[in-house]
């Protein structure tokens, strides 16, 4: 017989049977075997998995010391060498939900093992962690324990065995991951049907719910440009000739940092574009058209700007995911701030 899957269960002070709100400040502790709702999980996991240990922590302690508490809980969990971690369910308890989410996310990241928790969709822990972990949808209160446990146990076993999961079948909250599949009707027919429903005031389901957009407020203006250090950053793909970093023509997986020391203007011999979203003829003829090094040098000589920053950064915006673009921007911004750059001119295509 194969070895049973080793499970650690995370609970707060209340479900961990330590006490109520008066015990919410307790530090993490562990107990061998299952505690409280762990008994129903043990039953639902049957002979396939065993709860080898339970880690309990007070909600207030966790909430007020998120970073240390996560680490302390993680250390206790590791001791049991688990294959799987189950947390909660937390129902609509906000602090408990956030703790379950944080513990699961940390376990998934550090131990690389499957995790499952359960929450009511409006629990603040859902928005914080739904993209990182599997959160089974539960009722708002502990009255929903009887329905929650078998769903969570079933999903946990599937994950532990590496079986495919599906939010609709397994009852977890969607993780915001867009996954392709082939529909029964072609897109145009679905569009016509959706319009008929919309015009008729009937219920319809959009296939792409619009996201909330990040809007960035501009920084205050630079008061004295003649003393400012200005850098160029581009998503137009201008790279040294030969594209030494092999930045992709679309869906760029990286950005490049390139030296402009001693360069007065870009030429067809020195630079080119790596961008695949536009006709490169004009950019390759004169790369200054996308990355205006020539004009920046003029401004520097004329004293309009204090200093033109020695390095420029370039990536390809074409089809590059917003998440990646954000990551590159954060890294580039950090270096620019460290280099005491006060202003950046962003050029696209």
């Amino acid at each position: 017989m194969t070895r049973k899957i080793r499970v650690v269960h995370y609970l707060n002070q209340f479900f961990g049977q330590i006490g109520g709100e008066d015990k919410a400040g307790m530090h993490p502790m562990d107990k061998a075997g299952h505690v409280g709702p762990g008994m129903s999980f043990a039953a639902a996991l049957k002979d396939q998995a065993e709860i080898v240990g339970t880690v309990i922590c007070g909600d207030t302690y966790f909430g007020e010391n998120m970073e240390t508490a996560t680490k302390e809980v993680l250390d206790l969990i590791v001791k049991y060498e688990p294959d799987l971690v189950i947390a909660g369910p937390a129902f609509n308890a906000g602090r408990y939900g956030s703790a379950c989410g944080a513990v699961c996310a940390a376990v998934a990241e550090k131990l690389q093992i499957p995790v499952v928790t359960g929450m009511y969709p409006e629990n603040p822990g859902v928005d914080m962690f739904r993209k990182h972990i599997h959160i089974v949808e539960t009722e708002g209160s502990a009255a929903g324990m009887r329905q929650a446990v078998p769903k969570m146990a079933k999903l946990a076993l599937k994950l532990a065995k590496g079986e495919p999961t599906d939010s609709a079948v397994d009852g977890y909250l969607t993780r915001g991951i867009r996954k392709n599949y082939f529909a029964k009707e072609r897109g145009s027919a679905r569009a016509v049907e959706m319009l008929v429903r919309k015009l008729g005031g009937q219920k319809f389901v959009t296939e792409y719910p619009m996201p909330q957009f990040d809007r960035v407020d501009p920084n205050p203006a630079i008061r004295d440009m003649s003393k400012a250090r200005i850098a160029l950053v581009t998503s137009g793909g201008i790279v040294p000739k030969g594209n030494p970093d092999h930045i992709e023509s679309s869906s760029a997986s990286k950005y490049g940092k390139y030296d402009l020391e001693g360069i007065d203007a870009l030429t067809a011999a020195s630079h080119q574009t790596a961008h695949g979203g536009y006709d490169p003829v004009y950019a390759n003829e004169n790369p200054d058209r996308v990355l205006p090094v020539d004009v920046m040098r003029d401004l520097e000589r004329e004293g309009v700007i204090g200093k033109f920053h020695r390095y420029y950064y370039a990536t390809v915006g074409n089809g590059t995911s917003v998440a990646n673009a954000k990551k590159y921007a954060a890294a580039i911004a950090k270096e620019l701030v460290e280099a005491e750059v006060q202003g950046v001119i962003l050029t696209s295509t």
Binding site: K131, I177, N318
Partner: protein, 428 residues
Amino acid sequence: MRLELGKIRIKDVQFGPETCVRDGVLYVDRAAVERMVLEDDRIAGAGVELARPGEEIRIIPVKDVIEPRVKVAGPGGVFPGMVSKVDTVGEGRTHVLAGVAVVTTGRIVGFQEGIIDMTGPGAEYTPFSRLNNVVLVCEPVAGLPQHEHEAAIRMAGLKVAAYLGEAGRDVEPDEVDVHECLPLLEQAAAYPGLPKVVYVYMLQSQGLLHDTYVYGVDVKRILPTLIYPTEVMDGAIVSGNCVSACDKNTTYHHQNSPVIHDLLARHGRDFNFIGVVITNENVTLADKERSSNYTTKLVEMLGADGAIVSEEGFGNPDADLIMNCTKLEKKGIRTVLVTDEYAGQDGASQSLADANPLADAVVTAGNANEVISLPPMKKVIGHPEAANVIAGGWDGSLAGDGSITAEIQVITGCTNELGFSYLTVREI
């Protein structure tokens, strides 16, 4: 405007001593086609290959796909303003070699040409794996500028499609579809009890190899205007695009424009389909504002209650899509949008470059960033190394054994935003 569309079902394509259709087989005079392509002195080399469904063949890099058609009655000829004179088309009778396409390939024009696999996992993602393809391998003369190169290959494809279409002129079609579109006021009065619906057909016009032509006019230079659905069926709109393979509308897509067909299918029953507005996707803000204002005005002028708006391409045109949508919705005209997504290879990123809560009814044709592995094929028509540079591929996409790992973005027609295909997305 009444058009009879006679479909001749072609079940196989073969080379033969003369180009003709016999018993559902299209025979192609290979030498004649090659000569025709070489008439253009911008093209130095021309080859013709056949690729049938199920064959272990990969075509790469694919520029355009075109359906052979021929005008047998009524004014004008196919591809007016490109191959035929600029007569207004869409009336009379047109024969279609259904099940056949002309596919253009050769040295890559831009970064954004695609792949058609005739079998294997890639074949599922492209509608063109189900056609009998006559593939033109066109190699340009040395030093030909890209715009000239694009124009030469575009014209070669259209010319050969028109030439092959001629073979169907005197063949009795297997079925005849009749489409009748009335003058606007009559059409609007036809079904007083039904809501009026317009199709807003966005055409790629970012320029720099991202171009579409209507009656031979570069769409960048039009104001949004009206067109009868049947004009589109006669090839009034053709592709000059090197936008990403997955969501560029090939000429074949325009000829078989699916929103038009699916609106016509329910016309007079669920709504009154009163017209098509074609608009562009230019790059400057002023152009975007002007075109979306003008589109909205036209749709309102037509008295529409609802509109389907389809996009072509992604990123920059997402702004046009959202402008068209929000301006129409603010006029009380209900919209459904057709687009695709760039949600990252892991599907976790934001899918469009623009968004608005008024866009509450969206059909998606798939996440173009999803990665696929395409096994090696026995035969490759074209240039397999293009896989390393086309949009959706990367340095190393083409492995030593001939297999390709890339985003599905590289597959021609895979996330078509006219809604031609079945691929879509759900959240997990």
